[in-house]
């Protein structure tokens, strides 16, 4: 009994220490067309209530560079954009920290903006967690994402199939109902012969070929 209690308390303590890790979520990749605006979304999950001291921090590492620069920081209820960063006049904070959303919008992207953006969110006292990366890829013409056309073709064909089968059974049901109502109106009662022959269950069903 005491050992069970001790085991339960150890397990609960283990879960509780895991509970204080914050999880940050962003996209994996973002594909955009050159010249357009892109919204980089970042949200987090935390076991504590969203405090007033929540902070969001975005940094950027260009493709091929080794170091990342800080481009945005939100703290004490105010957003701060790096005044000498590569996005100083193109970055806008579009998130809602009360709803755990720390997204930023970058306007008029160019090929130089290819790189990795990192979002780090902290919700005191919950400050232990890993930042999350999103890769930005800028294209002249955005190609169709892998699997979209595949899924569309499969979905349309299977949908048509289900539709055809449903219509077939509906027609059969309507025709049978109409035949039934007609026979009721004429007072005929000899319609019971149809169903008797279809309920035989042969032991081994056999087939033969005939043209």
């Amino acid at each position: 009994m005491l050992s069970v209690l001790a085991l339960t308390s150890v397990v609960l303590l283990g879960i509780a220490s895991q509970c204080t890790a914050i999880s940050v979520y962003t996209n994996w990749e973002k594909h955009v067309q050159v010249g357009s605006d892109v919204r980089l979304s970042c949200s987090f999950f935390s076991w504590h209530w969203t405090s007033a001291e929540v902070t969001f921090s975005w940094s950027y590492r260009p493709d091929g560079a080794k170091e990342s620069v800080s481009i945005f920081h939100y703290t004490n209820g105010a957003p701060y954009i790096a005044t000498k960063g590569p996005f100083r006049d193109r970055l806008e904070f579009v998130g809602n920290p009360n709803r755990r959303d720390g997204s930023i919008m970058i306007r008029n992207v160019d090929y130089n903006d290819n790189g990795t953006f990192t979002c780090d969110a902290k919700n005191p006292p919950d400050i232990m967690g890993h930042p999350s990366n999103v890769r930005l890829l800028v294209f002249e013409k955005v190609p169709v994402q892998a699997g979209v056309i595949t899924g569309a073709i499969i979905g349309v064909v299977l949908g048509l199939l289900i539709l055809v089968v449903a219509i077939y059974y509906l027609m059969r049901f309507l025709v049978a109902r109409r035949v039934f109502s007609l026979s009721m109106r004429h007072g005929k009662k000899g319609k019971g012969k149809e169903g008797s022959q279809q309920r035989q269950k042969p032991k081994v069903p056999l087939v033969f070929i005939s043209f």
Binding site: A146, G151, I153, I154, L158, Q197, V204, V207, F208, I209
Partner: protein
């Protein structure tokens, strides 16, 4: 009579297995030890494989969809055959089964044709078509024959 039933079942099962292998194996085009298409591009470098996903070309996604649909339809046709075997009236034909199997053969034919026409030109002599491509072309006449057999098959007793 039992032999006909057995032979039909074996043919249909063979079709199913060929379709599954052709759809799932990643060996439509081979270049030495590298394998390309339908789902990955795997190249060998420094003793290990690096695989990238394919699929941003529209024709390749269409081939993927057609192969998956052919497999699904062939599987559905098999299940319907087993159902109809026990519920058809005497002398009835297996129309539903035949329709699905022939549709499966049409999809496999379209997929194989699109791949043959649209696959990029070979760059070197060690490029060749892989076994999955051969199986796809083999699946087309086999499923067609199987579907036609179901049209002439009748239920006895």
């Amino acid at each position: 009579m039992l032999a006909i039933l057995f032979a039909t079942l074996v043919l249909h099962l063979t079709d199913l297995i060929i379709l599954f292998v052709s759809t799932c194996a990643n060996a439509w085009r081979i270049h030495g030890a590298d394998s390309y298409d339908l789902w990955y591009r795997c190249a060998q470098s420094n003793g290990g494989y690096t695989c990238k996903g394919t699929g941003e070309e529209e024709w390749l996604q269409a081939v993927q969809a057609l192969m998956v649909l052919a497999t699904i339809f062939s599987l559905t046709s098999f299940i319907i055959f087993l159902c109809q075997l026990f519920t058809l009236v005497k002398g009835g034909r297996f129309f539903f089964t035949a329709v699905f199997q022939i549709l499966a053969s049409l999809f496999v034919m379209s997929g194989a044709i699109i791949y043959t026409v649209m696959s990029p030109k070979w760059e070197s002599d060690s490029d060749s078509y892989g076994y999955a491509f051969v199986l796809a072309w083999l699946a087309f006449p086999l499923t067609l024959v199987s579907g036609l057999i179901y049209i002439v098959l009748r239920k006895k007793e």
